[in-house]
Subunit: 299 residues, 2 copies
């Protein structure tokens, strides 16, 4: 890796990922629960790996405002379910037609297209059940959380970004369009992950507004870094095809700004994300370091 993680962040991320994985394992219907096919398909895509960056951000945001991460764990898992559903549908033959994801065959390659559509639907549906039925999230917060997550995932959030992404393929697009795609397709859910944690942690209005700014910015840098990695990364590290954006003529930051300018924007935005945490002290250290890590990761 070109960025040497401070050992404690590495340890922090690993521990948090483990908490999320363990909780996901318990939340999901067991393999063998009928109908077996759908539950195998749901588990397959969810447990195939992934950095769990969104749920880790939820927990970190909860702690940044002095909250107990345990209360935010279910909501963190719900966000990861939505992320996973979006990948399954995004990989479908009628969408990006990807055969590999995280180094493994995609859902429709393993279970067939129909089951992949349904597994995505089921993960999306279950995410709202998790939030609504959670025993740790205070009941009074649940309607606002369901609302927030649904908006971030909906037709004017993540799905909106996917639609414009799809419509932009093969076309020469403006910087404004690429920004719209990234802000919606990627940043909306990342931002919602952070806002969710902050709300459950009992954020004050000013804290919430700082964290929202952090979320939007870090969500954008996540996708810019992804665009750059699609050009400079290796298949082994990314676990998926390289150069697909160029091949599919996707709207990306490098396609609009070139790779050097994209790197500069990534750096600028990362600084901006860190700056938006100004009002916080040591309790937001993980969020600061994650912002830097997102920009400098190599996978």
């Amino acid at each position: 890796m070109c960025y040497h993680l401070r050992m404690d962040l590495q340890k922090y991320l690993l521990e948090r990922k483990k908490l999320v994985d363990t909780r996901l394992e318990r939340l999901l219907p067991q393999n063998g629960t009928p109908p077996s096919l759908i539950h195998r398909a749901m588990r397959y895509s969810l447990m195939i790996g992934g950095k769990r960056i969104r749920p880790v951000l939820t927990l970190a945001a909860c702690e940044a405002v002095g909250g107990d991460w345990r209360k935010a764990l279910d909501a963190a898992c719900a966000i990861e379910l939505i992320h996973t559903y979006s990948l399954i549908h995004d990989d479908l033959p009628c969408m990006d037609n990807d055969d590999f994801r995280r180094g493994k065959p995609t859902s429709h390659k393993v279970f067939g297209e129909a089951a992949a559509v349904l597994a995505g639907d089921a993960l999306l549906t279950f995410s709202f059940e998790i939030v609504a039925a959670s025993k740790t999230i205070p009941a009074v917060q649940k309607p606002a959380l369901v609302s927030l997550i649904a908006r971030a995932a909906g037709s004017q959030g993540l799905i909106g970004g996917q639609v414009v992404d799809m419509e932009s393929e093969g076309k020469k697009v403006s910087a404004k369009t690429v920004e719209y795609i990234h802000a919606h397709k990627t940043a909306c859910l990342i931002s919602a992950a952070i806002e969710t944690g902050a709300m459950i942690g009992g954020a004050k209005v000013k804290e919430l507004s700082s964290l929202k700014r952090y979320g939007r910015t870090v969500g954008l840098t996540f996708q810019i870094a992804d665009d750059i990695l699609d050009i400079t990364g290796t298949k082994e590290k990314l676990g998926k095809g390289i150069g697909k954006d160029v091949a599919q003529k996707k709207a990306t930051y490098p396609s609009v700004y070139g790779i050097e300018r994209s790197r500069a924007i990534l750096e600028e935005k990362t600084q901006e994300a860190v700056r938006s945490l100004g009002p916080f002290g040591a309790e937001a250290a993980p969020l600061r370091e994650i912002a830097v890590l997102i920009a400098r990761r190599d996978r």
Copy 2:
């Protein structure tokens, strides 16, 4: 029609459908809201018609327990969104591959497959936002309602039924399997529609349990009647292909029991549904009549 509707039920259904249509019209993002494609696709499938039987049942159940239907209108619309999303995904080429629905080209025929997948996703997502953000549903009821609807729509509800339906195609299936498919694919959401209305209406425990039994039974008769209509109906009335179940070797009541026995079961179950409304008086008259209508409809 082989069943002459009492004029007041006909009027009742029409008025209720209008209330639902008007509210749906207001809830959905306007045409032109960016990204325009997704909102056109969402509106297209939702406003193409349909009897609105599920939302009408929500309102009727609310009133059967003495509640104000206005409080249940948003939740009724949310249920209709879930129904519509399930039809869009069910019609996809990788699923039932249907070109027509309610006499009009299906979503993927009009907007393409990718947009149809996303429009379904967006309707499903939006349904939870509607419940969570509703100004008429008491906040304290929202978590239980989101939970109930998500469970009914999820991998052990509607989606579970679709999975087994798909797996059973072309196979000789048992009566138990057909019952599983119908109970999950169709009855779960219909039953949830009724339970939702009853909960918002402030149903007592005993009332709720009667209405749950009514919901499960009426949900089943709805699908049995559908199976029979697929054989005896006309394309003009149904607005979709006839004999598709047989052509696709679908698991249906007639395929297991033959058509005469299916008709007898339909009649029995309809009586059972009406009987489960025993504890109620005149306030449940629409529910009683709707049960009969469901069994005797010709479209």
